[in-house]
Amino acid sequence: MSESQATAVYNATSSPPRPPVIQMLGIVKRFPGVLANDHADFEVLEGEIHALLGENGAGKSTLMNILAGLYRQDAGMILLRGKPVTFSSPRDAIQAGIGMVHQHFMLVPSQTVTENILLGLDEPRFLLRLSEFDRKVAEVSERFGLKVDPRAKVWQLSVGEQQRVEILKMLYRGAEILIMDEPTAVLAPQEIEGLFTTLRAMAAEGKTIIFISHKLQEVMAIADRVTVLRKGKVTASGVPARGMSRAELARLMVGRDVLFHLEKEAKTPGEVVLSVQDVYAENDKGLPALRGLSLEVRSGEIVGLAGVAGNGQRELSQVITGLRKCLKGQVWLSGELVSNKPVQFGIQRGLAYIPEDRHQVGSAPNLSITDNVIMKSYNKEPIAHGWMIDMTAATRFAEDLKEAYEIMAPTVRTPARLLSGGNLQRVILAREISGKPRLILAVQPTRGLDVGAIEGVQRLLLAQRAAGAAVLLISEELEELISLSDRIYVIYEGQIMGQVTDGNIEKIGLMMTGTPLSQIETGD
């Protein structure tokens, strides 16, 4: 059904054209020091799924925030069904039928779904007859296949369900045009498929959907047409998604050719560096997260760990680094026991850790780049000088790294919070790799980065492999795992389901959903 829907729209654009529902003409938006939108034109047709593609910082969100009434353009105009409109608040926009679902949800956790949806509306006026509105919400959710219990409290819902509530909020307010800001960033793979089904159903009902993303494969999977932004300028306007190749889209986005296939030199792995043996651990809620997990990583190889988020990946990385208690089993690093040792113990022995969360774990936002890069070496010569820190040495160290890793910042005194995602990740990589690690534990190292930055991170990991480091790459991006890894383990509910060496995506998929490799093979 989605196929036919998509082709229908495609045909409609080529034969007698459908009227554009939204036209943004010559939009200029300036932020201090940045030209976020530079005479951007954007046109969306009624009932289509239109992807707005661009790297981080290309101005996608800004352009859509203008459309949703959150910002006001410095120049240019917006036409809604041919008539000029000005929105001075999101309220104005939603009254005109334009609603935006933000990347970060704006929900009250302690209230029910219905209460959240009614929040800020004029109806009901005084008395809350919730049951009546529960029914209305249920009706809307039924119509668009957005399954969610109106009476559930928001904190009880999964991220995917919360997103549905946000969508419902907009639909309930009568949105005809729905802007989704990077909706898949927070979702697990199965949830993404569910979201796509919903979006297609909504388009079939005549809603217009604008889908902001920087992920090529998603855009190709869901969009009818694509507009590409680069550095605030439109580089492709409303091209049919089906007529484009990934390489073409990537070039429009980044402005140069992007290599999808990384050169990986052949290398025979050396001795075992990391050995995880029958490890048990609990998650934050005290429930079993790792249940007898074992794996090995040798020097000079990249080993991938695939799995749906929440199957124990986070806990495993914490057990290896010493941040989480290991209840049973052991973790060995080059023949030394590291489980249940202080975090410093592993750091001293060449364990580098690129955490999943750059902002909340990997960096200190208000401290300078210098302070951020010395995080693992502030207590070692030459930066440490007895009790003191040798600031000259620290500054020199930071300046060398800034140059070597191409960290874009005015000076090394710039606080980390002013860096873009890609630059911040470079700071973290520079810090971790500069210590000549034996083992690199990289968790989602490219998450949220744009195509250019992803390539840089992947090259660095390959260079470390060539230099003889052992790399354990934990990621949810299967494609990345397959292109980088020598072997891939699959984790499911805290256990290893098996490993593949040939990048067989079908086997990985089956194991990710809980079928052990032994069963798959006997099943053949």
Binding site: P32, G33, D74, L323, I347, S363, D371, I389
Partner: protein, 378 residues
């Protein structure tokens, strides 16, 4: 991109301009915070001036009087510095705890304990009364520092070990400290039934400039005592700890992002206890300096809320140790000169206005104000 910039609403209809606040994306130049601070003080003095004229006074004359009464001559400036001395030490203590986001609001109690510790040396007596000054000073310092550090250790330990909220424990321990001192004043060291101890022997007093008036006539009547040197040295030491030492780096990292600190292998619990102890030790030293430098006996009213003013000072100084000195001197002046105008009332209000203005001016450091023309023609 940053969050939505705030916009003003209703005025749009009459004015073709809007005021817009935008979060700063770049660092401000070095002179800017100073300019903003001075601007805020000017605004505060202007508002205070309105207040004074409403009360029937002449603002300019009042301000001139304040300035004269605190900075007018060497004698009053010396009194200002005496008032500033405990503030510097307490402010430093608060600043180091706040740096790690430990909300030590128990400096008042730590100050009292420091005063008690120093008094105990003289009154118990731990040292015979005829001991020389060079022995009294270090022993009293040590006692004051240890007593203050102990008062910091308890909430620090509770926080580190059982995650007890330090705001509550430090606040409550203030009351214990005051009552503890009162017990000794009323029951143990009471002199002739009065609620105060006997006067300390002269050799237990911190030397004052006036003590050297015979050699340097200029020093006659100057009350500045050795405690000021403690304060200035402590500022240098705290600066070195915070910005140049490994320990200071750990403190700054924990303060900015405890999860990153944990990830870097830093022991947060140990630092919680150590920093609370250092914070308490500095406040305790303030108590010791006040008791041996100014009061010279243990009595009930030894602090007009120095411990709490220290919180404000640390905050206004943006936790910078050297700024603590300057802010403390300004506050010392306000305390001293305020009393000249009116025992309470207007001067305290002006203090409050300055405080509010300074804190509000922080907004200008984080946001840019832009005046923009409305572009739409509809």
């Amino acid at each position: 991109m940053g969050q939505a910039s705030a916009t003003t609403g209703g005025l749009n209809r009459w004015l073709p301009y809007r005021i817009r606040f935008e979060p700063r994306m770049k660092e401000v130049p070095a002179w800017y915070p100073l300019a903003v601070t001075i601007g805020a003080i000017v605004v505060a003095l202007f508002l205070g001036g309105i207040l004074i004229s409403l009360a029937g006074g002449d603002p300019l004359r009042s301000y001139a009087h304040i300035a004269r009464a605190s900075f007018g001559n060497l004698g009053v400036f010396s009194d200002t510095l005496v008032k500033a001395t405990p503030l510097i030490l307490v402010g430093l203590g608060c600043s180091i705890a706040f740096r790690m986001k430990l909300w030590n609001i128990g400096a008042e109690g730590q100050f009292f304990l420091g005063a008690f510790g120093a008094s105990a040396v003289v009154l118990t007596p731990l040292l015979p009364p005829e001991s020389p000054t060079w022995l009294f000073i270090p022993v009293c310092m040590l006692a004051g520092i240890l007593a203050g550090a102990l008062w910091g250790f308890v909430p620090g330990f509770l926080k580190a070990r059982y995650n007890v909220n330090e705001i509550i424990t430090t606040l409550m321990m203030n009351y214990i400290a005051v009552a503890w001192n009162n017990f000794f004043i009323y029951a143990v060291w009471s002199e002739g039934g009065f609620q105060m101890s006997r006067m300390f022997s002269r050799s237990a007093w911190l030397p004052r400039l006036a003590d050297y008036a015979r050699e340097v006539p200029l020093f006659r009547g100057l009350t500045v005592h050795l405690g000021l040197v403690f304060g200035l040295l402590a500022a240098v030491v705290v600066w070195y700890i915070v910005y140049r030492s490994r320990w200071g780096y750990e403190i700054r990292l924990i303060g900015d992002n405890p999860r990153a600190a944990e990830y870097a292998g830093i022991n947060i619990r140990r630092n919680t206890i150590l920093v609370m102890m250092l914070s308490g030790a500095l406040a305790g030293l303030a108590g010791m300096s006040e008791i041996t430098g100014v009061v010279h006996r243990l009595q009930g009213s030894i602090s007009p809320g120095y411990g709490f003013t220290g919180i404000i000072i640390a905050w206004l100084a943006k936790l910078n140790p050297f700024a603590v000195i300057i802010v403390s001197i300004l506050f010392g002046a306000l305390i001293l000169a305020g009393r000249e105008i009116q025992p309470s009332g207007i001067p305290k209000m002006i203090q409050g206005i300055i405080l509010v203005s300074l804190i509000a001016s922080d907004f200008l450091l984080r946001y840019r104000v832009r005046i923009v023309r409305l572009v739409e023609e509809a």
